[in-house]
Symmetry: C2
Subunit: 328 residues, 2 copies
């Protein structure tokens, strides 16, 4: 890829994970990048009550930027966003504290627009194990109940930050396909935050979805990883699990102050603050939402057919969401 890579504008661009200090500039970049839908993280360590405020903040963003974005609760909403030339936004929880230990709060969150929830975030949760724990006893008793309820309502189970056994359990227990919204293969970048071939194969065989992450910590050479290397990784993943079950989950973080990374890592569960942490420097080829046509161009340059690029950029997530958001 020494030659200049041409941008390619995919019909549907769907990003299954972003967490920004949202503002109008970011929504304008979404338009510039032709982004159809973004799955926006609204909570990490927020409890139920605090999550309501996060949801309310999005209501204000929707009202103030109605020309650029709109809430997405159904597949039809995504079609409408596309038709309007706006970016649809789905709401996602990266941890299960927002439902506390009350099964009915899954329905309350669903009512208020939440469409994705991770069963655990780094640590052991009441539902599942996080990837940073040394032991992984798998899905818990409450976890089985919550999976059944999420299946019933049409809330997508996301295991991006969960440990291996819990993830394999979730794939097996869930009656509907699950998602790993933002991660890459361990075989390419060796961190347990990424996913083993076993998990990736099990995910794809069950019609689940993997969203490739652009977060430097999940990339083989961190911030120095080239677009070509990234596209090679996509090609190898296609060899492993095919083109049907992969998409984008950039894990783009924009405009967040330094203390937010500490909040994400430490929440309220430890007194050890990590003040020295800095946000990783983004790659040169993915800094914001306007860069998506460059990614699509990179995939074309790698030799993917246009149809495959369309699938990876958004078509696969679109098909997944069409059934996943439908109540059982």
């Amino acid at each position: 890829m020494t030659e200049k890579i041409e941008d390619y504008r995919a019909e549907y661009v769907i990003d299954a994970c972003q967490y920004a200090n949202w503002n109008r500039t970011i929504f304008e970049q979404m338009r510039e990048g032709g982004v159809t839908c973004v799955n926006a993280t609204i909570a990490y360590w927020e409890n139920t009550r605090e999550t309501l405020t996060r949801i309310a903040e999005w209501r204000r963003l929707f009202a103030a930027n109605a020309d650029l974005i709109m809430p997405v609760k159904t597949f039809t909403d995504i079609r409408r966003a596309k038709k309007d030339g706006r970016t649809g936004i789905t709401l996602a929880l990266q941890h299960c504290l927002p439902i506390e230990e009350e099964i009915d709060m899954v329905e309350i969150m669903h009512d208020l627009g939440v469409r994705f929830m991770q069963l655990s975030y780094n640590n052991q949760s009441t539902l599942a194990t996080g990837w940073l724990e040394s032991e992984d006893p798998g899905i818990t008793r409450f976890g089985r109940e919550v999976i059944r309820e999420m299946n019933r309502l049409g809330v997508v189970i996301d295991m991006s930050h969960s440990a291996e056994r819990s993830t394999l359990d979730a794939i097996e227990i869930s009656e509907r396909p699950i998602a790993i919204t933002h991660a890459n293969p361990i075989s390419w970048c060796d961190t347990r935050r990424n996913k083993s071939d076993t998990v990736l194969k099990s995910l794809a065989e069950s019609s689940g979805m993997l969203g490739f992450s652009f977060y430097p910590n999940h990339l083989r050479d961190g911030s120095d990883t080239t677009l070509e290397e990234f596209c090679n990784m996509v090609a190898r993943t296609v060899e492993l699990i095919g083109t049907e079950h992969i998409g984008i989950g950039s894990d783009l973080v924009q405009g967040q102050p330094y203390w937010v990374i500490d909040w994400m890592r430490s929440g309220k569960w430890t007194k050890q603050t990590l003040n020295s942490l800095k946000w990783p420097v983004p790659t040169t080829w993915f800094k914001d939402n306007s860069n998506f046509p460059g990614i699509a161009g990179g995939l074309l340059a790698k030799g993917f057919a246009k149809e495959e690029v369309e699938q990876i950029m958004g078509g696969n997530w679109l098909r997944f969401i069409e059934t996943a958001f439908r109540p059982a």
Copy 2:
């Protein structure tokens, strides 16, 4: 009314206030009484988080008794309940603690199905004054904001437990008609919990609604009040404000243990518990939802025309709700 009063089954029976220890027997009584819609109190001193659990409890009741009841969020829902032969249930807050001091929580509660909210319950609230306070400074700064937001969304402002000046203020400030869901005229039963002629006239002139209460504490002779006396009071109220703006708001309390009356009165705001309190004994003619045809019969016997009885039993609330639940 020495002769036997014949039951009369009004087409629409709408009760603007009940608070029961809900169960299937009560829902069966609603069917027996031909009740189209009941406005169910879900919170007094519950905060935002606790209110979510109250809402979730109703979701379970709706699921377990779907043959008898259904949630009502729109006017169309009431029509559907009527068509199905089920009782529609609207959710109501008797106090504003469920929104804490966060304006966006009005929309969250509306999203979850709340359609009525009292601005104060007995005490001074952050919005308005309750009827038991000695001073009433009227609607507060936050109160004006909340009224505007309720007007925007279509959440009915209820001043049943509020003090006089606050109530008159609310009628004036609100751009939409308000309600006093459960109270009687002070001129008939002299407690400040009931409403003055000034308030009743102002309410009716602004197209607001009064729901007559059957709660013994609001009745001239308490539990001994006769249906005839009650119907005479209705007739006098009609002379004062006409037949268009009156309906039923029974304040029926069923199956609640004694501690609940203490919860209603004392919440968490005082250490003085009122353990000696007992629920007032109901009148002989209104013990549960199956008694509504008897009330309608009493009104007919008093000399009201059938058309007027239809208005009072449900027609007026139906017309009010048709516009009141519509977002601005």
